[in-house]
Structure formats: structure tokens, C-alpha cells
């Protein structure tokens, strides 16, 4: 309750301070950026491309919604949908308030992002002043979708037992603090990007920043919250709690891959950078390789062609290629997808059976494990044809060192911050719903209605 009371006054104060600076602005009308010339048309075309890509990534929210809804039980579907929907909305507001400023201040990518150092940025709050500019708005639009994706990934791993209010607070923390700070290190001219090994750590569209972070935070969250009731037997063996609708899972995967084109190819922020075609193709090839690998593997292992594994494999391929899509040739994309799907399969087994952490949708394995693999794959498979990034296949080992440092930092940051946050939240608020609610279904408890009211 205290938090609620103070947050309102903090918000009012921010708005008052901000309104003083409203008179100053970058180029909010676009009149100064655009002109009837080659340069002006260049801006137009790149804005159109980036914005459309942002819309495609927004579409991924629908994909995640479908995917997760299919994996959870019917009595908890509405809770998952609500968490998935609201974390985007709340995350958007927090990211606008100060997340974007922490992440991109000092990057000088667009107007109004001048002030910041190698560890944190501090310009661009509330997109006011010089950051009230068309170019900065395009960047913000694109970046919020990524932040929303990171938020949503964790939702899947904690579904079916997480308190809704705890989830809201977690969304604020991730989009406001955890994600922007690490994002600044990797994309905002922070210390990871400017490492002296190779060209510095590279994460093209966010394997590490978005998916790795989502997956690793999911790991800590799922571990601290504990497994669902009835998941583990007294001897430690796992029971199967299967989802309620596989059509949603397959459709969700297809929508996600569709949106991933925007996620990866849009990260050039410019279609005048013709490498977009290579990136789009790499995305698709990696997804395809991941799906095909797991459909065959599941057949050899269980005599059934398990389509859920194929979907997870496709997503694993997408996650892994997210870091390296711009830097690797096509055959390498296939290899990356193949290894990503195998990593996912191993990780699913390891996390569920050895570490005894309950993950309903497999978010830790698909996103966390492959976020790290994606970062490493940049150091291995880059062929030097774009951005000067050279990997092991062309004889250079320094890039791999940069990537490795980025991986280690990611793990340390995510585990550390997430553990602190969830530990404190557990003490203050409690993370789980009561056991009898978990057994009868969270939907009616948290949201007043079941997901399928008539049946």
C-alpha cells in the first residue's frame, strides 16, 4: 500500500518537472529531419521500415499469448493471458518514464540521447526536451517492443502459481531497471559494446539482452517461486502437467516466427542497409533447422513425431540467430539452429529432472539457454562480411572472448539482480497464490471469471 501512495506523488512530480522543459524539443514535427532530397527520402524509407518492424514485433505479443495459453491448464489460461497482456502495457509506461533513458542515454543514436556514461545513461526521460524528436520516437517504438518481449518471456515460466500483483511489480522492475541497464552496456555504447577484444561484444537483435535475460530471470523466478502443486513426487520424479490446446501452441509459433522477421531484420533500423535480406533469411533458416532437427530427434527417441518439440526447436533457432543473424553466412545459420534445438532439448531435461525447476512453457530452455548460445555463436560463425565482426571460422578468436565476457556478465547480472528482487518481493508480498486456489484454478480467484465461461 505504501508503494501505491508514494508512486502517485512521484509521478506527479515527474510530470511537473517535465512540463517545465516541454518548450524545448528536438524535431517533433519531422520538418527539420525530412527534405525532398536523397537524404530526406533515406529517413522516410528507414522510418517506414523500422516502424513496420516494430509493428511486427508487437505482433509477437499475440504469438506469445497463444503459445503460453496452449501450454497452461484450462483453469489457469486467463491468468496467463492477463499477465502476458498487462506486462506489455505496464512495461511500456515504465520504459517511457525512465527505462529508455537509462538504456540509451549517451548512445547518441538519435537526438536527445547525449548524456550518459559507460555504465548507465541519463538522458531522454519521458521523451521530453531534445528527445521529443521523430527519430528518437521511432527508436523508442522499436525498443519498447523488445522490452515487452523480455517481460513476457518470464511470464511463461512462472505461470499457474504466481500472484498477479507480484507480477505487475516485477514488470516495472524488469522494464525499468534490469533490462535497460544491461541493454545500455550492450547497445547504448556501454562497456560491453566497447570491449577491446574483436569489435567489442555484439548482440545484433538481442539474443542476450532480450531472450537471455528473460530466460535467466525466469530461471531464478521459477526456482524461488517453486514448482506447481503436484508437479514433483516425493522421490523427486516429475509428473507431466500438459497444456489444454495444442492448436494455440502451433499457431503461436507461426505468429512468433512471422514477428521475428521484424525483430531481427528490423534491428538494422534502416532498410538502406541492404543486409536486411540476409538477416531475414538467416532467421528463417535457423528456425527451420531447429524444427526439423527436433522432429527427427523426437521420432528417434520416442517413436512419435512430437510437434511440440518441433515448435520449441523452431523458436530455439530463432532465439539463437537473434544475436548472429547479421554476421553469419547461411550455412552457419542452419548449424546454429541445429545446435540451438539440441541445447533446448538437453536443457529441458536438465532443468526439469535434475535441477527440479518447474517451467510450464519451457521458457528457460528455449530463451535462456539459447540466449547464451546465440551470444557465443557470434564469436564462432561470423564471417567478416558485415560490421567487421570476424569469428573463429575466419581465424579470429578475440570476438569469441568478447562474447564470452558478455555471457558471463549476463549470467551474473540476471542471477544477481533477479535473486535480490524476488527474494525481497517474497518477503514483502509473497509470490505464490494459496495452494487451494492453485488447485481449483487461478482464473476465478484473480480475475473473477474463467477463460471459457460457458463450459
Amino acid at each position: 500500500m505504501k508503494l501505491k501512495r508514494y508512486s502517485l506523488s512521484i509521478l506527479v512530480t515527474c510530470v511537473l518537472i517535465a512540463s517545465v522543459r516541454t518548450a524545448l524539443a528536438g524535431d517533433p514535427g519531422g520538418a527539420l529531419t525530412y527534405s525532398d532530397s536523397v537524404q530526406g527520402l533515406k529517413f522516410s524509407v528507414n522510418f517506414a521500415w523500422t516502424l513496420l518492424s516494430a509493428f511486427l514485433v508487437f505482433n509477437m505479443q499475440a504469438g506469445f499469448t497463444f503459445l503460453g495459453a496452449g501450454f497452461v491448464q484450462k483453469k489457469n489460461a486467463l491468468n496467463y493471458l492477463a499477465m502476458s497482456f498487462m506486462d506489455f502495457c505496464i512495461g511500456a509506461l515504465i520504459f517511457w518514464l525512465f527505462g529508455f533513458a537509462l538504456m540509451f542515454g549517451g548512445s547518441k543514436l538519435t537526438p536527445g540521447l547525449l548524456e550518459g556514461n559507460r555504465f548507465i545513461g541519463y538522458s531522454g526521460f519521458l521523451l521530453l526536451g531534445d528527445s521529443y524528436d521523430v527519430h528518437t520516437s521511432v527508436l523508442w517504438m522499436f525498443q519498447i517492443m523488445f522490452a515487452a518481449t523480455a517481460c513476457t518471456i518470464v511470464t511463461g515460466a512462472v505461470a499457474e502459481r504466481f500472484k498477479f500483483h507480484a507480477h505487475i511489480i516485477y514488470s516495472m522492475f524488469l522494464c525499468g531497471v534490469m533490462y535497460p541497464v544491461f541493454g545500455h552496456w550492450m547497445w547504448g555504447k556501454g562497456w560491453l559494446e566497447t570491449l577491446p577484444f574483436g569489435v567489442g561484444a555484439r548482440d545484433f537483435a538481442g539474443s542476450g539482452v532480450v531472450h537471455g535475460m528473460g530466460g535467466l530471470v525466469a530461471f531464478i523466478a521459477a526456482w524461488l517461486i517453486g514448482p506447481r502443486f503436484g508437479k514433483y513426487n516425493p522421490d523427486g520424479s516429475a509428473n507431466v502437467i500438459h497444456g489444454h490446446n495444442l492448436v494455440y501452441i502451433v499457431i503461436g509459433t507461426l505468429i512468433l516466427i512471422f514477428g521475428w522477421f521484424g525483430f531481427n531484420a528490423g534491428s538494422t533500423l534502416a532498410v538502406t542497409d541492404l543486409r536486411v535480406s540476409v538477416i531475414a533469411v538467416n532467421t528463417l533458416l535457423s528456425a527451420a533447422a531447429g524444427a526439423v532437427t527436433l522432429i527427427y530427434l523426437s521420432y528417434f527417441m520416442t517413436k512419435k513425431s512430437d510437434i511440440i518439440m518441433a515448435c520449441n526447436g523452431a523458436l530455439a533457432g530463432c532465439v539463437a540467430i537473434t544475436a548472429s543473424g547479421a554476421y553469419v553466412p547461411h550455412w552457419a545459420a542452419i548449424v546454429i539452429g541445429l545446435i540451438a534445438s539440441l541445447t533446448t532439448r538437453l536443457s529441458l531435461y536438465f532443468i526439469e529432472n535434475k535441477l527440479k525447476i518447474d517451467d510450464p512453457v519451457g521458457a528457460i530452455s528455449v530463451h535462456g539457454a539459447n540466449g547464451l548460445w546465440g551470444l557465443l555463436s557470434v564469436g564462432i560463425f561470423s564471417d567478416g562480411t558485415y560490421g567487421g565482426v570476424r569469428g573463429v571460422i575466419v581465424g579470429s578468436y578475440w570476438q569469441l572472448l568478447s562474447q564470452f565476457i558478455a555471457c558471463v556478465t549476463l549470467i551474473a547480472w540476471c542471477f544477481g539482480m533477479a535473486f535480490l528482487f524476488f527474494f525481497v518481493l517474497k518477503r514483502l508480498l509473497g509470490l505464490r497464490v494459496p495452494v487451494n486456489i492453485e488447485r481449483s484454478g487461478i482464473d476465478t480467484y484473480e480475475h473473477g471469471t474463467s477463460c471459457y465461461p460457458g463450459s
Binding site: V38, Q39, L41, K42, V45, A48, L52, L56, Q73, K75, G230, N239, V240, H242, G243, H244, N245, L246, V247, V250, I251, L254, F258, F261, A270, V271, T272, L274, R275, V276, S277, V278, A280, V281, L284, L285, A288, A289, A291, V292, F300, T302, K304, S305, I307, A310, C311, A314, P329, H330, I334, D383, T385, Y386, G387, V392, I393, V394, G395, S455
Partner: protein
Amino acid sequence: MKRVFNKKTISVWLLLITVGLLFNLGTVAAADPSGASTYSDSIGGLKYAVNFSWTLLGAFLVFSMQAGFAFLGGFLRQKNMLSYMAHCFIDSTFGAMVFYFFGFALMFGGSKLAPGLDSGTPFVGNDGYMLLGNSYDVQTIMFWLFQMVFATKTVSIIAGAVAERLKFGAYLTYSFLVCGLVYPIYGHWVWGGGWLSTLPFGAGVKDFAGCACVHTVGGILALCGAIVLGPRKGKFNPDGSPNPIPGHNLVYVVIGTFILAFGWFGFNAGSTLAATDLRIAVVASNTFIAAAAGATIMLFLTWAMTGYIDVPYICNGALAGLVAITAPCAYVAPWAAVVIGVLAALAMRGTIWLVEVKMKVDDPLGAVAVHATNGIWGMLAVGFFADGTYGGVSGLITGSGWQLLAQFIGTIVAMAWSFAWGFAIFSIMRYHMNLRVSDLVEYEGLDIHIHGTPCYPVESGIVSLGGVPIEEVRKADEEQTSLLERAMSKDATREKIYSDKLGRWVYALVKPSKATPKK
């Protein structure tokens, strides 16, 4: 297989691959893989940028059509939904791999449409394997993505006609062959600079976005598959009359149609490969007009014929219009798009009658009716309605009949090519691996037997907790399964008689056996 995949073999393979990679030092052979020499801050460079964004977005839209195809599984029964979705999903992934490795090279080698596609003959291409060498170029790769999503659509069409009874291994085999050989080679003839595009009649065979290459080829292959595979159990009675087998979810069908129509904008309008070609506006409008016309005529037709406004037919009518306009969309005026859409829907309705009632072929989704017939009609429509305002293609309405002749030749070749390959592939597979699943699998549903899980695991609130299967039970399981198999096969070949009481065909009664109390 266990022998091949033990730890030692895997580590040996990994070692070989790593060593192989480490030896690949130095620079990579490529044309322009980063776009730096294609793009420049000039009108020419911006032109590239704009056209890239258009074509790539078109490709993304066509990929999203896969979700639309998957949703059309609402036409099938609940117990087989997951297997159809698996077909649609694997089409887009496995088919992409095949097209990457050699399909694209066979289709566009020699077309010189992008760097690295230089060598080929008028009959088959031979350049661009795995997008290496000179074809590792941003333009070629953009082109590859766009063409690959088209290839996967061809294979997805076939999935609709062979649904609910095809073995998964057979499915993978035909996907491989269609994406790798059948589709690329015919595509080379029409789009890759092959002999059909250089016919001396009219402007050569003109297939703007793929009526012949995608829909006719796919539809005729679907027909061959459905014929060789045979109908679903219970579809046809002994006297040949068909039974309706209703689908399980029509919401999916309508949503699927919407998603397909949305993606079709990319399919047709993206086929200019350039947003600087402002004809895209006409293309997009024609696309939608034909869809709307097809749906509307089916609305009134079903209302008049049955008294009911039949939603699946309306959806199929829209899809029929979309298929038929795929070839002529760039060449005809909007009024012609209306005519094409209306006639397409009527042709679709006629084909459903022809295929199901006359030919006695079971086509669960109506793939043959929507795709094959309208692929043919769309090609011919170019010869009728092209008005010469774009691409120098003039049809019968301008007084010239040569284009119609070229289109006719292209269509006949497509049909012959697909029939030949279709029968060959499916017949050989039937001989070697027996295409159909067993009767037990067909009765209980492909989802559980091939994919291990039902598509909707929990319909009501009752949840069953599972445990690990015990080894000792496995033998008993196998015995029981073979008993069930035998019983189901007996059912499948039982005699049927016509019952006046019920107004339909029923199984003839067996002599009732007495129930005896156990001593």
C-alpha cells in the same frame, strides 16, 4: 539407428566438423553480402532500399499465410487436427531447407535475375546452390526469401487433400520431392527464364504471382495424392454416394481465410519485387476485389441452392477468387477482377461436385477445387482479360488471341507435369511403404498415434495425471494393439446395406452372439 548415435561417433563427428571449420580461414567468396556496394546515398541506392523493404515485407506476409493454412484444419475432425497442423508447420520449415539446398538453384539458375544466378539451360537451372559464392549477395538473398515462401505454399496445398490418412514418412518424402524437384523445375520454365516464358506467342507464358507454378502444380499433385491414397473410411458408401464428414471448428476456418487473404496481399502485390513499380496498387486492389466477388457469389448461390448461407463455402469462394486472380492481377482492370472472381467461385463449386460425386475422390479441404481448377482458370483469364496496360500483355479483349494460346500451352504443360510426377511419386510410395495409416490409427486419430498427444488434451475439466510407462506393460500393450488392429480392419471391410429406416448406408447386422455367464 542407436548404433550410429552413440557418444563416440558423435564426438568424432563434432571433432571433424570443428577441424573443418578451423581450416576455413581467410575471406569469404561473395558478390555483395553486406549491401555496401549495392546501396549508395543516391536515387539509385534509395530505389534499392525501398524495393528491398517492399519485397521483404511481402515475403513476411506470405510466410504469415502459413498460419492461415494451419487454421483451415477446422475442416477436419478433432482427432486429426494436430497432424494437419504438423504438415503445415513442417512444410514451412523442412520445405525451406530443401529449397535452400538445391530447389532455388534448379529454379532460378540461369535466370540472371540477381547476382550469382548465371548458369542454366532453358529446362533447368544450375546456379545458386546454398546461396554461396556469387549468390551470397543481398539481392539474391532477398529474392530467395521471397521465392522460398512461395515454394512452401505449393507443398501446403497438397496437405489439405491427403489429410487424415497419410503416413508421416510418406509426407516427408513427397515434401522433399515437390519442393526440391517438381516445383522448381516447372517454376524455372515460367519464371526462371525457361522455355515457357520465351514462347513466341503473345508475350510468352505470363504467370504473375503463381497460378500455374504454385496453385495448378500444387492442386494437381493434391488430386493425384488423393486418388492414389484413396478416400477416408466411411466417406463413400458401397453405391458410391458420398457422406459428409463435418469439421470440428468453423471459427478456425473463417479466421484462416482472413489470415490467408491478408497474406495474399504480399503474395500478389509483392510479386512486382519493387515498390517503385506503382502498379502494386492495381495488383492489391484486384486481389481483394476477386476475393470479395468470389465470396459474394457463393453467398447468394448457397442461399439459392440450399436455403442456407453456407459459411465454409463462402470462405472457399473467397479463396477461389484469390487463387484465380493470382496470375492476372497485374494485367487486368478491376472490372475484370470481378468477373474472374465470380467465375472462379462457380468453377470451384463445379469442381467439388466433379471430384466428390463424379470422380469419387475424397478431398477433405477442397484443395483440388480451390487450387487446381482456379489455377487453370487464372492462367486462361490472363489470355482473356489482359488489357495491355502493363507488361505488354494483351488478351482477347484487345483483339489478340496469341496470349491465350501461350497461356493454354503453359497450363497444359503444368497439368501434364504435375499429373506425371504426382502419379509417379505417390504410386511408387504406395508400392514401397503403403501410404495409408492402419485402420486402427485412422479410427482413433492420427494425433495420438503419430504425434503422441491429442490436439485438445482436455476438453472438459477432468485431468488425468500421468506416470512413466513401465517396461513389463509394453509386451501386453503390443498384444492388445494387434488385437485392436485386427478388429478395426474387420470393421473396415464389413458388408454394408442401405437402411430405409435411417435413410443411409449402415453395417449389415452380424449374428448376435449370446453372452454367457463365467462359471
